[in-house]
Symmetry: C2
């Protein structure tokens, strides 16, 4: 089941790739249905808050007309950064499934673990490594392409 | 000088207060001029990403047509949470001035200090306590009013 939704997040990552964005995709699921899909648009929109997770939270909030995304789970191809992990806690997401780790800025187990911090009044479960290889491959492919472009 | 810009942030907090929002206001300054003003709109917009700091970063990015808010300083009445502190680091803000501490969820010195974390490739200076009493008073006044409403 997590794989099915991670495939949908990977499709979003592919859309980001095609726009020249770092390929990260995200979906939010409630009652077994995808209620929001988004991909990274930071460069396109010239706005660092346009990470896939933030955009997906905004879409889900609009759909549910609520800032508390109760009983909602997030599937995201890359480990969330501090901004996104903070937003996930604030939105009361139930569980986060992510694909591959971000050793440099990941805030869900790598550099920090903001989701399970017990000073907050809400903790978020998480599971890492869902379709890990696919999620890593699309990122590697993107950065390889960027390096080639720079050499040319 | 910090007081002048914090007064502008307090004006924004007052706008939030009048809308029934937790009164937090924020301005972003570049070259001595305010380039973005925003206040908390979480309840109004049913969206937890609508904190004053995120909205101000979005406005400043739109104005500068850049996600890197280089040489920009932020003035915010309340200590930023993890989401906002993460966004501040991602946006490469130069310095954050804030009014009063948030002992429960503050991520700029209280619970965490995300701005000065040396695992990130950008650190943000900060100064706390600018017009501290005024920034605290507006929050206290708001929560006092909320409690009175609940009793009625």
């Amino acid at each position: 089941m997590p794989e099915k939704f991670m495939r949908a997040a990977l499709k979003e990552a592919q859309k980001a790739f095609e726009k020249g964005e770092i390929p990260v995709g995200c979906v939010i699921v409630k009652d077994g249905k995808i209620i929001a899909r988004a991909h990274n648009l930071k460069e396109t929109k010239c706005d660092t808050t346009n990470h896939a997770e933030i955009l997906a939270i905004q879409k889900a909030s609009k759909k549910l007309q609520a800032w508390r995304l109760l009983d909602c789970d997030m599937y995201v191809t890359l480990e969330p950064c501090s901004m996104c992990a903070g937003a996930i806690v604030n939105a009361r997401i139930r569980k986060v499934y992510y694909g591959t780790k971000d050793e440099k800025t990941g805030a869900v187990g790598s550099v920090f673990n903001l989701l399970e911090d017990y000073t907050f009044n809400h903790q978020v479960e998480y599971e890492a490594g869902i379709l890990q290889q696919d999620c890593e491959d699309i990122l590697k492919q993107f950065f390889k392409m960027l390096r080639k472009k720079k050499i040319k």
